[in-house]
């Protein structure tokens, strides 16, 4: 390997030339699309891309972006990775976006990147799940519904379904997701206060992975024949749970409920595995995120209950916007919703 040093030198020189060429191009390039058009450029990042729930959010977000004249980039990681989210935020800072909206997989790990975004003068909004408020300094949290109303609705539906007593288990998504952990804490409190005869098994954490959720449900069904109810509290967990219960031949015997999308749960309503479930309108959540961010950017977001774009009765207080109470779906009303 005697030639290596000279090759190293050659590589380094070429690398420097490449960089220099890049710098040269960079200096005359900053006035590209975003600045020239003077439209706000907004980046919106789901917890992960390619799942029905966030596809529905994207639909609403695009609707608002078209209505309000915003250039929207909707992109995110393919798995529930907070690190990839943080890297993508840095990318968006470098790209010079005006607004960044994110549903963090981990409130703490994305916070430094969000803080850098704020320091660069970018408006930072969280939606679906919040980031660490003090560490990130985010400007606004667009909440789908108050955590209380979600947690309480879930528990009430479950308790009604299993007759107020028995054994139940929660299947969640990512262990660090702030919204899920809030709901679980509220659900546990509600159970203790109102339904002390319902016993909860340790929560299952499949990390937003449908195969893992199916497997974990099958395992808990085998290990606990006395189980009465299962709560799948993410849009991926509920259908996975329902499929697992249906496969075990115990549809109707185990009360399955949770949070998911009508289009996803419909087959399980039809085969009788799921009777009732809970969700807000994710299309509206996406819409509200973009619309509220735009109002905030123009300093037109005031406190109080008010219409935002096409949405009525949005609750704005300080740095939080709430979409409204969750909807309880069953076979009588599910036909009204297409998302």
């Amino acid at each position: 390997m005697p030639r290596l040093p000279s090759r190293l030198v050659r590589l380094l020189i070429l690398g420097c030339l490449g960089t220099a060429a890049g710098c040269g191009a960079g200096s005359d390039a900053p006035t590209t699309e975003p600045v020239a058009s003077k439209r706000l450029v907004m980046g919106m990042m789901p917890k992960l891309v390619g799942i029905p729930y966030f596809n529905a959010c994207e639909r609403g977000a695009r609707e608002a972006a078209d209505e309000l004249g915003i250039d929207l980039v909707f992109d995110g990681p393919q798995t529930d990775s907070a690190d990839q989210q943080a890297a993508m935020i840095d990318l968006w800072i470098g790209k010079g976006f005006d607004i960044i909206a994110i549903a963090p997989n981990d409130p703490v790990r994305v916070a430094p990147a969000l803080k850098r975004a704020r320091e660069a003068g970018i408006l930072v909004v969280t939606f679906d799940a919040d980031a660490d408020e003090t560490a990130s300094g985010r400007d606004l949290f667009v909440n789908q519904a108050s955590a209380e109303s979600i947690g309480n609705s879930l528990v009430d539906v479950l308790a009604e379904g299993i007759g107020g007593k028995g054994t139940a288990v929660i299947v969640t998504g990512t262990a660090t997701a702030a919204n899920l952990n809030d709901w679980i804490a509220i659900m546990k409190r509600r159970l203790k206060e109102h339904y002390p005869e319902i016993e909860l098994l340790p929560t299952l954490v499949p990390n937003e992975d449908q195969n893992r959720a199916r497997q974990m449900t099958a395992d808990v069904l085998n290990a606990h024949p006395e189980l009465d109810g299962i709560l799948g509290i993410t849009s991926l967990a509920l259908p996975a749970v329902a499929e697992s219960v249906a496969a075990s031949g115990r549809s109707g015997e185990i009360f399955v409920t949770g949070l998911s999308l009508p289009n996803v749960v419909r087959p399980y309503l039809e085969n009788g595995t799921v009777k009732k479930f809970v969700l807000w309108n994710p299309v509206d959540l996406g819409y509200l995120t973009v619309a509220a961010a735009k109002q905030l950017a123009e300093k037109k977001l005031n406190n109080g209950v008010q219409p935002v774009g096409r949405l009525k009765d949005v609750d704005v207080s300080e740095d939080t916007v709430i979409l409204g109470p969750p909807i309880i779906f069953d076979e009588t009303n599910v036909e009204l919703y297409d998302f």
Binding site: D90, L91, D106, A175
Partner: protein, 325 residues
């Protein structure tokens, strides 16, 4: 004459790709001074790739480094949060954990277990220990004196790039200008011959894995500081990116050929490719003359990276075959 020209072109192709990537990155950056910030996580990957290079040079592989980063990070976090130690002690504990984990890999390798099997097993083992230590509750809110190690910058240059530069010099000298380095190539070329030539094969085997583990422990410091805390399962898949950087640069996965400059090339290409594609995210590309357009999103990004890697792998293979013949 013609083959000489071809072989120069062949060798320069990856450099040309790198130049194109760097140009794209700066072309699409509205804030060029922010670009070094985007290299920050890649400098951590780069340090791991430097330490992976000796492992691959002797024909080994270390699949456990992602798990070691997680484990060392968790040890730092747990020593600080649960054992209530001051952070410098916690950091020492984390680096020591990396050394011990790497040493254990080395011991498995030197007793003759195939490194692919050994480190596949320890990948699961270390990740499992990290999860057990940390639980589902991630460590967060670590003190500012510590987090500056991973979040600080000198001017516009993130500290990680300085760590990476220092590590590069050390590994360059180690691999290309020491007896240790010559032993690496000898072992990768022909282990039996190296043993008969009195190369301390078993000691070398242990050393490269211990070195790789220690580097993972050091990277865990920057990694944990960068996030202000640690979660036990965030480094999944990291090892594959690291290995990709090494072999894409042109170090032979069967050992014996390659080196630090090639690893630098590999890391620079992958990092800037990812960043360039990220910048293009959300835009639509239309192929001129064809009625085809596609959006650059998470899925097409994977496709582009995959295609480029296959292309470079074939290129590298041709290169090394010509050299052998």
């Amino acid at each position: 004459m013609r083959t000489a020209w071809l072989s120069t072109a062949t060798r320069l192709l990856p450099v040309a790709i790198l130049g194109l990537m760097v140009w794209l990155v700066f072309r699409y950056a509205a804030r060029p001074s922010y670009v070094p910030q985007l290299w920050r996580p890649w400098a951590e990957i780069g340090m791991l790739a430097l330490a992976m290079t000796p492992v691959i040079l002797i024909g080994g592989i270390d699949l456990s480094i992602g798990s070691i980063v997680a484990l060392s990070g968790v040890v730092i976090g747990v020593l600080w949060r649960d054992a209530q130690l001051v952070w410098p002690i916690a950091v020492l504990g984390g680096v020591l954990t990396g050394f011990l984990a790497g040493s254990f890999n080395g011991v498995l390798a030197l007793v003759g277990i195939a490194p692919l099997v050994a480190t596949l097993a320890t990948m699961a083992l270390y990740a499992g220990i990290a999860l057990a230590l940390c639980g589902v509750q991630p460590v967060s809110g670590m003190p500012a004196g510590f987090t500056i190690l991973g979040q600080g910058s000198l001017g516009v240059i993130p500290l990680q790039l300085f760590y990476f530069a220092i590590a590069t010099i050390i590994f360059y000298v180690l691999v290309h200008h020491t007896v240790f380095g010559r032993y690496l190539y000898a072992m990768g070329d022909n282990r039996l011959a190296a043993r008969f030539a009195a190369v301390p094969v078993r000691g070398m085997e242990w050393a490269v894995y211990a070195l790789s583990g220690t580097m993972a422990g050091l990277v865990a410091v920057a990694y944990t500081a960068r996030g202000g805390g640690i979660r036990a399962d965030t480094t999944q898949g990291m090892e594959l990116v690291v290995i990709a950087c090494v072999v894409l640069g042109g170090t032979r996965v069967t050992g014996g050929a390659g080196g630090i400059p090639r690893t630098l090339l590999g890391i620079a290409i992958i990092a800037n490719l990812e960043i360039a594609l990220g910048f293009l995210g959300g835009t639509r590309l239309t192929l001129p003359g064809l009625n085809v357009s596609f959006a650059i999103d998470a899925h097409s990004r994977q496709v582009v990276i995959g295609v480029l890697m296959v292309g470079l792998a074939i290129w590298n293979e041709r290169l090394s075959q010509r050299r052998l013949s």
